[in-house]
Amino acid sequence: MTPISITAMICATTAIGLGTLSFRLAFVLLERRGWLNHERMEKLKWVPTSVLSAMIAPALVPENSPPVEVIAALAAATTTIVCVLKKRNMFVAIILGSLVYGSILAFFS
């Protein structure tokens, strides 16, 4: 593995950190100045579902991953979903999902 330039890492981290902080706080400051109105933003109710789904799908099935990994990820996701729907503890759901994923990969490799 090639070592990453520390200067590049610090510059990138600072830029991402400050940029993200401004995203997080911008709305509060704009709203306090009366420039934005939350009540008009009804469409936002679809945001959490869309963002989470769009983040989970590519993370579960990474690009160019072998079929075994895809099957393992889908099995892990199914286990987690079933556990949550059966009102099990979320911790148990995540642990069981991870175990299923690890076991399938270990079995086929």
Partner: protein
């Protein structure tokens, strides 16, 4: 801030802690393996505080990408925090300004998803804010501690692939949100779009998928509103037609 609600929030967020802790260790171990010093990894966790952007920045820098491009790509992915901040306004608005800014500055995906399920609760918003703050602490601290543990003890830890834990953690949050048929459809559209659009440059796949999800939700809402209005109009026409 009510102490009881805060404690309940801590308990509600605690199931996520082990998964977040292990994923954070993975980030620190992979960063340390690429020659990054401990302090730079801690700085990354403290300043950025989002797993997706942190993993992405290390991966892109490792591929030799310019830091400006890395920052732009990660900021596009982190744009969602502006929307999170807007969406949680009904809950955060009640809190004193400093607490509100602190809460939003360290907000995590998990805390947002859990808080989002209680937006329409009839409980006083101040209590929900305290509850959400508990979840935030339960999800923020493990990430910081995991980075420290991974950076310091990474070389002694067994090499397990823990990358699956974060998507599974987010999946548990998502399932809680899917309480309507329309939301399930929106989730399917956004997930499919994210898979199809991941080849787009600068990681534009995520914003595109989110946009399509919101558009689908808005369209479904429009159809539902029209369906409600149509029978009313028909009854009115029938009544008018029946008048002498």
């Amino acid at each position: 801030m009510t102490r009881g609600s805060f404690k309940r929030g801590l308990l509600a967020g605690s199931p996520f802690a082990p998964a977040i802790f292990s994923a954070s260790i993975l980030f620190a171990v992979s960063g340390a393996a690429l020659g990054l010093p401990t302090w730079s990894l801690l700085l990354s966790s403290l300043l950025i505080n989002t797993g997706t952007a942190q993993f992405m920045s290390v991966e892109l820098l490792n591929q030799g990408a310019n830091w400006v491009l890395v920052a732009v790509a990660c900021l596009l992915v982190n744009l969602r925090f502006a929307i999170y901040s807007m969406h949680l306004t009904p809950i955060t608005r009640q809190a004193p300004l400093f607490q509100r800014l602190l809460f939003l500055a360290f907000l995590t995906d998990e805390a947002y998803a859990m808080t989002g399920t209680r937006l329409s609760d009839s409980v006083p918003k101040q209590e929900i804010f305290s509850w959400a703050s508990g979840i935030l602490i339960a999800t923020f601290l493990p990430w910081q501690l995991g980075t420290l543990t991974g950076a310091l003890l990474g070389r002694y830890l067994p090499r397990w692939d823990l990358s699956i834990t974060i998507p599974l953690t987010l999946l548990t949050c998502l399932i809680l949100l899917l309480n309507q048929r329309d939301k399930i459809l929106v989730a399917c559209v956004a997930a499919t779009a994210a898979l199809l659009a991941r080849g787009l440059p600068f990681h534009l796949g995520l914003p595109t998928a989110v946009g399509l999800g919101i558009a689908t939700g808005s369209f479904l809402e429009y159809l539902a509103r029209r369906r409600k209005q149509t029978p009313k109009l028909m009854i009115q026409e029938d009544l008018e037609g029946g008048l002498p």
